[in-house]
Amino acid sequence: MDSGPYFEDFEVGRTYTGPERTLSPADVAAFAELSGDRHPVHTRDEQPLVHGPLGIACFFGWLYETGLGAHVEAALDTRWRYLAPLHPGDRVSYEMTITRARRTSARVNGVIGRHVLVRDQRGVLVQEGETAALVTARDADGDDAQRVGRAFPGAAWARALGERLAASPAFTTQTSTWDGTIGLRFGEDVVQFRIYRGRVLDCGTRTPDGPTFVLGAPDITWVRLLTGPVNDFTKRTMRGEFTVSGSAYEYLRLTSALVALVDEARALAKEAA
């Protein structure tokens, strides 16, 4: 198969949609037989429920049908939440956003992070999940430097952002009396920026004393923040989309510095677009 996207074609922030798919009573019955999950909630006559995992299975079917999975070598993980019930006859649609793209050390392929929203025919969000895959690269010698701006939360991205922060008057002024380490958590992965009086001393996954505080969110939240139309960081914090661990005092103290950091990370992501 030569058609379909390779590793390099999946730009972080890009969203894919496609046609609806009906989950028919026959589909649900067949899934019950195949999986062995013939629990009465799926097989009763009154208001049976579609198996949640059928929503996942059909996502992979959707990937195949749309050709988006053409160069997938392996699925790596799947985390999924069932938010609202589906009933036989409902129609689901998938919206997939690329949240990560990291070339492997072998260079012939890369890991792509994908966030998935599943809606029913009324537009209700019924399932949400993340799933990563290993995808073949078009060119093992390809230049990844141009994509570093969206390669968060990798080490190269952290270094590139650290350079921008050091050159940002807004950031260096707001941290000019500060001594500490900012941690940013993407899903489960934390990157750290060691700051001393406005200077960025170090950036990466480890610092000797660890982070003063960690600002965290799921990958999709960071993607929307860093590749969306405006810097709406404050709105997102007000809506509770971010969590903070460590020193809440120092986090609040850096309110303006973090707005400046997001400005720089957004500018960096724009360079990679």
Binding site: D232, T234, K235, M238, R239, Y249, E250, L252, R253, L254, T255, S256, V259
Partner: protein, 270 residues
């Protein structure tokens, strides 16, 4: 324009008055002051109103309330009643935003029969169904040493709730003005917001009421506003596209819009 320096509820109050005609009392938001109405006041006065804009106690140029920062919006409502009587405002309209809107609704409950009508913006008379604020969190915020970068947070927090239609320079001005607060007073105001609830009195309101909310107002759940509108007899309810938490500061020509709402209220007033 005329400035009043008078005693209300035991402390000196600063009030700006402009125009002659139907009296209108305009109430500001938490921690802010009458300056939020500086564009609206002369324009509304020119449309035939006596526009009275107080700084609530502890805000702007008004002295603090005798017992310190106010945590009960009912105290502000009682203060407004005394002010209305002291200035001889006969059957006034009351227009307020956020805690000002909540105070306006309290006045509707307390003395609706003596009001021409109420425009309550960014308010719904009770506890938020999905609260973004808690008394505990606000109590913590009152300990100044535990509340760093307050001015920056007010600045960015204001920018976050200004509507999408507001020009960047205007949004910047609004946010810069809002930084000039006393955090103790603002936080106490917000405790008043979190704890106030006059919804049980809304079905008995005896003046026409118009509830107004901006579609971009993160502080407000539209369902709360619709619910309150359902409780008040014959209430109007308007959602403004591209507007956030501060319609009177955000909307150019707000006075003309308000004039339309007041004209409608007057038509329905007993």
């Amino acid at each position: 324009m005329r400035a009043h320096d008078l005693r209300v509820a035991g402390s000196r109050a600063f009030v700006l008055e402009e125009g002659a005609g139907t009296p209108v009392l305009c109430l500001h938001t938490a921690g802010q002051n009458g300056v939020q109405w500086r564009d609206v006041q002369p324009e509304l006065a020119a449309l035939g109103y006596r526009v009275v804009v107080p700084d609530l106690p502890g805000h702007g140029r008004s002295e603090p309330a005798p017992r310190g920062p106010v945590r009960d919006l009912g105290d502000y409502a009682a203060w407004c009643e005394e002010l209305i009587d002291a200035l001889g405002m006969e059957r006034p309209f009351v227009v307020g935003c956020s805690i000002g809107g909540a105070i306006a609704l309290q006045l509707a409950v307390r003395r609706g029969d003596r009001l021409a009508g109420v425009v309550a913006m960014a308010a719904h008379g009770g506890t938020d169904r999905d609260p973004m604020l808690t008394v505990r969190g606000l109590e913590r915020e009152l300990v100044d040493a535990a509340a760093p970068s307050r001015a920056d947070r007010t600045y960015h927090g204001t920018l976050a709730v200004v509507g999408a239609n507001v020009q960047p320079e205007r949004a910047e001005l609004i946010a810069r003005m809002h930084r000039r607060e006393d955090p103790e007073v603002t936080t106490s105001d917000l405790i008043g917001w979190v704890t106030h609830d006059v919804r049980s009195g809304l079905p008995g309101v005896r003046c026409p009421v118009h509830l107004v909310a901006g579609c971009d107002d993160l502080w407000l759940d539209p369902a709360d506003v619709r619910h309150a509108a359902g409780l008040i007899p014959d209430a109007r309810c308007t959602f403004l596209e591209g507007v956030g938490h501060y319609p009177m500061e955000e909307l150019p020509g707000f006075a003309a819009t308000l004039h339309g709402w007041l004209t409608d209220l007057a038509r329905r007033s007993r």
